[in-house]
């Protein structure tokens, strides 16, 4: 693509200003690779890791919020700053509104909401302990599914959920990224 960045930003900003954008996305360089961040009217709806195909992620959001999706670093400056502040260790809470509409069930949504509200940076929780917090102590496996399908990783911190048997378990961005995020937050992992 060879359109000048200034022109693309101008078009995207005008679209947002006129209420013509269903969602806006940006790509952000981080220590764990280039993240895709997609934001709708109600908040961040999707975060994608570097290896996830952008087209597929955007198509997923288009199916939910509508196809009028534009790219703008400028319109998402506050969001970029908040995620960058996390990686720079300035503020690890990432206090951004999230939209969990891509989550398929109420159970998963309440598990992810609880996780975000109650397990802060530097802390970890096991799948079964989180299941107990949600009120379904036997649903550790379902908690695993909720984390595996978390549409907004990092912001909703599913990397802080670990298997009771030790180790870091699986992660959408790969176990190495999970380990790196936990080490960054100062959480000790066996």
């Amino acid at each position: 693509m060879t359109l000048p960045a200034r022109l693309l930003e101008s078009i995207a900003s005008a679209a947002v200003r006129e209420g013509l954008a269903d969602a806006v996305y940006t790509r952000l360089d981080t220590p764990i690779g280039k993240l895709l961040i997609v934001q709708g009217e109600r908040g961040v709806v999707r975060v994608g890791f570097a290896e996830e195909p952008v087209d597929a992620l955007l198509a997923q959001v288009a199916g939910l919020l509508g196809p009028r999706i534009v790219a703008s670093d400028r319109e998402l400056a506050a969001t970029r700053d908040a995620v960058s502040a996390y990686f720079e260790g300035v503020d690890e809470r990432i206090d951004l509104p999230v939209d969990l509409s891509l989550v398929r069930s109420d159970f998963r949504r309440s598990a992810l909401t609880l996780l975000r509200d109650e397990v802060g940076p530097g802390h970890v929780v096991t799948y079964s302990a989180l299941a107990a917090k949600v009120g379904h102590p036997k649903a550790a496996r379902a908690i695993g599914s909720a984390c595996a399908t978390n549409p907004v990783p990092i912001i909703v911190p599913c990397h802080r959920v670990l298997p009771g048997s030790g180790g870091v378990g699986s992660y959408g961005g790969g176990p190495d990224v999970k380990r790196l995020l936990l080490a960054h937050e100062g959480a000790l992992v066996a």
Binding site: T2, L3, D55, V61, A62, G63, R68
Partner: protein, 156 residues
């Protein structure tokens, strides 16, 4: 209306933005190309969710850009020639009508070449095949017509 799976709008901008800018510049003169493209893409965004199918999106964007460029040229002629207030820009659903009314005073052969180029989105070989002339002649016919619309004003 049945919902169709339209691609995320920005993927169209990334795929076709540069050629649309070239087109907008050719139609309007270099200095206005970017403004015209921005307006065209905003018009396209307004109409996008109402499209009934996800085919020929590139040709559709060309058409929107062409109409926006012609509206721009028409508005500029008005500013220069008359005090007539500008008419509201044509709505996206009426692109074809607006296009037809703008080229209506041109010779038939020229109209045909413009339609093949901007409505059917054919390349010059394709236009030549339809009109039974050479590709060079087809290109010439289209560029002469654009020049006519640009320099002699557009029939209201």
């Amino acid at each position: 209306m049945k919902a169709v799976a339209l691609p995320p709008f920005w993927s169209l901008v990334e795929a076709h933005g540069d050629e649309l800018l070239v087109h907008a510049r050719r139609m309007t003169g270099d200095s206005n190309g970017e403004d015209v493209l921005q307006e065209a893409l905003l018009r396209a965004l307004r109409a996008y969710p109402r499209l009934r199918h996800a085919e020929h999106l590139r040709a559709w964007l060309y058409r929107v850009t062409t109409t926006t460029a012609l509206d721009h040229l028409r508005a500029r002629r008005r500013e220069v020639l008359t005090d007539e207030p500008p008419v509201p820009a044509s709505e996206p659903e009426h692109y074809d009508d607006a296009f037809e009314s703008l080229i209506g005073e041109l010779p038939d052969g020229t109209q045909a070449a413009l339609r093949l180029r901007f409505v059917e989105d054919l390349d010059y070989d394709g236009i030549a095949a339809r009109l039974g002339c050479s590709a060079v002649a087809a290109r010439q016919r289209v560029s002469t017509a654009i020049r006519t619309l640009r320099t002699q004003g557009i029939p209201a």
